[in-house]
Amino acid sequence: MNRTAENEKPIKISTILIYVFFCFMMVLYLAPLFWIGMTSLKTRAEIYKSPFGWPEAFQWGNYAVAWKAGKLGIAMLNSLFVCVVTLILTMIIGSMAAFAIARLKWKLSGAAMIYIMIGMMIPVHCVLIPLFVRFAGIGLNNNLWGLILPYLTFSLPTCVFIMSGFFRSIPNELLESACMDGCTIYQIFFRICFPLARTGLFVTGLMTFIGNWNELLLALVFVSDDMKKTLPVALTKFVTPYQTNYDKMFPAIMIAIIPTIVVYCLFSNQIVDGLTTGAVKG
């Protein structure tokens, strides 16, 4: 008895230390987010006077002002449109390609996979200028479709990657019996494989959506029209070289991050799993 007590004691101290450490980390991670919320409810004078204090009165009106001044409504709609369209197209095109690479038998499937995987390594900056010049030539600049195309292309590698893993895990017998029953290859894909890979689709969908929702550089370059700006771009407009409207900026930050936080809280486990599987095998 005595010995086990001795053995457990040092472990317990270390466990306590670990918990203390992680509680400190929690503060480090949650305090800034909490603080955005607090600051967004203060008046401008208050922000300067006591940036870390509790607001004297909750200024809910800040949100309405920021919403209007930053044209956040339209920006959010634009972001939503771009992200949803990209999401749907990525899932369809990506899983079709993944199915062909994972299950269909052709010589170049390995090469096609590598070709698509290279896309993961190329930073978007490198194609920024040629794309901008080309899109300006065919009227795709200042157009949300001009954003969707590159977003789609840069979302595809992860999608193909994860989905091909899911399609490979579907048992062969299932496809064979479908084939016996007279399914065409298209029916096999749309009726059997596509629904079976729901989990994969869900994960890829979430990742694609979040990634594109936050994208700044392309949106900044490709869109200059105020009515077509996406949310991250609209946010950067709150900081001008001459002054920063902090009382409008903080509500705007809140408006921008709340949707992501809600989605993350609802699906955090799936998101986390998806991101790790996506990267682990790559």
Binding site: I18, P123, L152, V239, I271
Partner: protein, 299 residues
């Protein structure tokens, strides 16, 4: 069955959209980018004239480019090293506890999914010269430094601040990857080592570390590419001030050369920066994969 899976028409229908997109939106532009890098772009006539390596020679002599390159390499090294240490540390500690593990994991991962542009604004305010953290320090009678405006030192203070902010934001990613790898290690290995009298630290050093080594390669290449691409945070924290304050990185310099209202539209020069960026990405991943190339142990 076999015949069905070899259906040429179906194969083409399934892969064609993805491959066409890739070729048109990614590979042809990359080729064009390499060509533009060798050209001089005339704003008024909108024409490109071939000038060989002129852009690269110009960039080699350009002091801003040197600063941008220096800062980018700093971010590269800093993020690779700090993410490795912090990521592994967090992962190793988290796998040691059971209660609350998911909560800690999810909270630390949270900033990764949030917009860098939004978080950058927050940190810019916290590191403001008068309000923010300095206001807090002033209560204790400490005069805080001008976090985001200091220009002294080889690596300026703002760069360190931003490097730490990006560590704060993205360390969750590395932590996740290492955790996935560590939780895949067979528990019996640890039990055997404890019976042989190994301490927890020793077990970490001689069991965990060698077995996560393949993952270090993957995570580090992700960090390397991410840090070279680094744009959102800097842009939203410093905005257009990067120019005056010697705080450019490759991505912001590319953006400024190509698109800013003041010095913009040097497409040739900007493409040359883009080419350098890609080459750096490929080099960094190549080197990292070589360094951490290990045979996969049976686990």
């Amino acid at each position: 069955m076999d015949k069905l899976l070899r259906d040429k028409k179906a194969i083409i229908l399934f892969v064609a959209p993805a491959l066409i997109l890739f070729t048109v939106v990614l590979f042809i532009p990359i080729g064009t980018s390499f060509y533009y890098a060798l050209c001089d772009y005339d704003k008024t006539t909108r024409s490109y004239s071939f000038i060989g390596f002129g852009n690269f020679i110009k960039l080699a002599k350009d002091p801003t480019m040197r600063i941008a390159l220096k800062n980018s390499l700093f971010f590269l090294v800093f993020s690779c090293v700090s993410q490795l240490i912090m990521g592994l540390l967090l992962a190793a500690l988290l796998t040691n506890i059971t209660k609350g593990r998911n909560v800690f994991k999810n909270v630390i991962y949270l900033p990764c999914v949030l917009s860098s542009a939004a978080l950058g604004l927050l940190w810019a305010f916290l590191f403001h010269a008068k309000v923010g953290i300095n206001n807090l320090l002033a209560n204790f009678g400490i005069q805080g430094p001008a976090w985001l405006y200091s220009t002294s030192g080889f690596i300026t203070l703002p760069m360190w601040v931003i490097a730490f902010v990006s560590l704060w934001q993205y360390v969750g990613q590395s932590m996740m990857l290492y955790m996935a790898q560590i939780s895949g290690i067979n528990k019996s290995l640890y039990e055997a080592s404890y019976i042989d009298g190994a301490s927890k630290v020793k077990a970490f050093r001689y069991i965990t570390l060698p077995l996560v080594k393949p993952m270090i390669g993957t995570a580090m290449s992700l960090n390397a590419i991410g840090s070279l691409k680094f744009f959102d945070l800097i842009y939203s924290m410093l905005g257009d001030k990067t120019e005056n304050l010697k705080m450019d990185v490759l991505a912001t310099y590319l953006y400024r050369t190509g698109f800013s209202s003041k010095g913009g539209n040097h497409y040739g020069k900007a493409s040359a920066i883009g080419v350098i960026l890609v080459v750096l990405c490929l080099l960094a991943t190549g080197i990292i994969n070589k360094l951490f190339k290990t045979e996969n142990y049976e686990m």
